[in-house]
Symmetry: D2
Subunit: 308 residues, 4 copies
């Protein structure tokens, strides 16, 4: 499989990891959801991310998931989340993933980092442990990590570490950050790929400001694909019409914790996975929430019909 | 003015504090925006909250704002934010506010608190400093304060401190928390008023789950009023139709930091305040963001017309 | 009174604020403890710091303390802690303090700051609000504030803001930071005064590495004075002999929270204040802790006699 | 090897992990330092703790270290640190360690936990994943984890989870917490073993208040053994005399980050390990710090001679 480069664009869906009711890995569903994402138009996949329940997998299971998804991905690039507090574990999984055909790895900063200098040092070390030939996606997600990366620091990371080829952008608020990044590149800084997270809740504006697409999950990944396409072509009204139809659900699915339960419920309902169970520990969708989601789904179907 | 009680319901708008371009307090605009909120159907007002730029006011200015809004509020209840790291400053402002006719005070926990025991102790002390006759709104906003209040702790606070009459609910995710609070009350716990924050981004579901309304700000406070009314009467589809029309802007205005700039821009555009300036330090709306907001406003107007 | 400059050196004692058992300010004891500090050899005083229970004072009481200490300080420089989350309150108190004769103000960063850029912006704004003629002591105390200031950022703050004349150094570990600061100055950066905090627990090494003295509190401020003097003259063995005799108590008094109770207990025992009470909320010394402190005091007396 | 029980007492030394200059594991030095600890009088060992550079080891290396130390420990109990953000990884290592003869495992709470309910749930899940027959040491170290465990929560953890047999106590301030724990046990709560950390900086007082000893590291582990023994027998003056002689170094070695460099420097100097290198990333002892430590070592030798 080709390595991830700074030219990557489109939608890399953050894949769920399907489990059976008893908590065991459901590899058939993993195949099915991989197909489902690709049929929705995904340009790549990202596995073992936060929403992939990675910390609940043993090392052996992680390798199983990597192998299975890469084999099924029809040559599309697969990015593997390898964030870990220890650099040895991070490098071990990262190198293993690359050896098995991953296109690159994704690294979020550990919660203990504070100063710009600490963050810079951490990424230098992580890149050093991984090896210079491993493409890295920098996950910038302060809401989850508590680590804040300023424009200035982001620039130093890009300057110092050529193997960082992509930003998974989910700072919030983050629109101006994209514009400032692209402005710095216009003045000569190396261009990197920017794919946006946060469930796509600002996707039309993000693409209009220069993002290359999305790297996130959603029960309707086709929305991410279509909105990215339309907004990339400057068809902002059509992009936003479509986006708005999904927004009530995007908003609901973006809730931390319970959001994954919503996503798996939707995917199961759509037949993409057999069962919406999460491995313990995981949030459960209470009956009221399930009814709220189902109400939003009905309204969404109706609204999409109105749009034609 | 009557004191705030646990029976309070409807919409308490979190008021902005208007400034002139030069950073001086604009008291005429404060009158105007007070009228604007009441004309939109507000049942009460909340001033000197986080979105009211309270920490940028001197003590003398704070008292000026309190007097001006209470005088203009046509007898509607005015809640005053008094959060401060020091209990002496908190009590000083709180007692002063009550003496000038406030209906109650709002207290968010300081960022330094961690354990349930620390949080409980803090509210006991704050209530002790304020005096038992001062009605307190507990602001539960972990995203801003980093302080997390569990169901269990919330119950202990309500049991221990009868002067806590209202929860400003902005935990996220927070829908199940409302349901669990109401369930505990159904089993005998003292009922308190629950008004929701977070820019109203879950308002239809929150009211359906038993919230009494909203305590938040938005450039179109009439939406908060109408959605609360419709959802309270069980007209969920009409509530949600209306809500969905505003949701793209709600989402945009809910961004931390830049959100207040959006709100003031909208309020200035609608004539509710003379100038959208924030006192320093404050976020500024770059031209791109301004264009994004204006695009959303146009789409919103169009969508509202479609709905009739 | 002369303004604080970057040439300041010696020991600025962080003063306690004495209260009576009923929680009222004890101004006679404030006079007495001021005399006590000066008799111990203090070169200056710092009031309304974290250990001065500043957040428990009303604004009026803060001004009372400022006036009283400045009047009693025999012309020695008095630094006033003005840290506050809101810049308006910070500037209000700071300007008032300067007008009443303070030598400078001390500003710790609020807990909400994270990135280098945020911290730099905050100090620029704080200095702007205070006015360029107000000398500022930068309090670098990550253990209490959670804000970490790297060498690089410290250099930018010093370069950008000439009114920062002193570092209250209490990063931990922090010895190498002093050496790196002095090394940067040797290469041409503006020299600032460095006074060390943390109860003096590394004072001999800190002075040997180039610190100008201490700005901290301790029940035996004469130790801070003597150790600073001896270490400044290079008499490291005598400095350390003396220091070691006090170290068991330094260690005990350095505990967060309960440390202030220890300090007030010692000061009351030595007659420097009438009563060891803290205003609520405050830690209380349980009988076991009191016995532990008294045991350490006895051992300390004995050890000092041995040293002669 | 016998399983760890709530009756455990004495000193469990937190073992360093020795590396060669090139960063490779030095298993001969691991044998040597194991012998060194046991000769110093250790009652047990704890490996793969924070100060054992555990996050820098691959999974295979961790198992190597476990096997080697258990084989060398002459039947003394070996506790294995298994803290990890993911429960699957935690349980995988924990069960592997037990199968290889560990006496128990140590679990610190992940930084993301905040409320009492979250912490309780986490330990329930961790214990569930490990299995009820695995003895657990609860590491209570807020300075490193940011997670604060109140007396009340500690009681609930002990009540709910019988497999928690030991508290590694390093809350700070923490003396009163020990007293309150023992008081609760005197009223009927199940007694657990309490071994203290924090480099032993409060060891005399901790043992006097009811701690069963120490679980920490120090370049002179014989001090931990002797002070625990003397203080257990009530010989507080002799305990403290000895302790005070080592305190200047204890203080120096207790610094976060650089402390491990100091410890390895001392251990290498004493011949317990061949090389003081840390695997990257690790703090390095600059020449000034090395000189400071050597000065403290000379003074310590002299002072110990004076004591006879």
């Amino acid at each position: 499989m080709a390595s991830l480069t700074a030219e990557a664009r489109g939608v890399f869906v953050i894949s769920v990891t399907p489990f059976r009711e008893d908590g065991s890995l459901d590899l058939d569903s993993l195949d099915r959801v991989t197909d489902f994402y690709l049929e929705a138009g995904a340009d790549g996949l990202t596995i073992l991310g936060m929403m992939g329940e990675a910390p609940k997998l043993t090392q052996a299971e992680s390798l199983l998931v990597i192998d299975r998804v890469i084999a099924r991905a029809q040559g599309k690039p697969v990015v593997v989340g390898v964030s870990a507090p220890g650099l040895a574990a991070l490098a071990e999984l990262g190198q293993e993933a690359m050896a098995r055909g991953a296109a690159g790895v994704m690294v979020a900063p550990p919660m203990s980092l504070r100063t710009d200098a600490q963050i810079l040092t951490y990424y230098r070390q992580a890149c050093g442990f991984l090896g210079a030939d491993v493409p890295v996606v920098l996950q910038d997600f302060p809401l989850a990590t508590t680590v804040q990366i300023s424009d200035d620091l982001l620039g130093r990371l890009i300057d110092d570490l050529p193997q960082i080829v992509m930003l998974k952008h989910e700072d919030w608020p983050g629109l101006a950050k994209i514009s400032r990044l692209r402005a710095a590149e216009a003045k000569g800084r190396r261009r990197i790929s920017v794919l946006c997270g946060n469930g796509g809740v600002f996707l039309p504006e993000e693409v209009a400001r220069g993002a290359d697409g999305a790297m996130t999950g959603f029960g309707f990944p086709e929305m991410l694909v279509q909105v990215t396409e339309l907004a990339s072509k400057g068809e902002m009204d059509r992009a936003q019409d479509l986006f708005d139809a999904y927004l009530p659900l995007v908003r609901y699915e973006q809730q931390p914790g319970v959001g994954l339960a919503v996503r798996k419920h939707v995917l199961a309902k759509r037949g993409a996975i057999a069962c919406d169970a999460q491995r313990q520990p995981g949030a459960v969708l209470d009956p009221l929430a399930r009814a709220e989601v189902d109400r939003l789904l009905d309204r969404q179907t109706k609204r999409l019909k109105e749009l034609g």
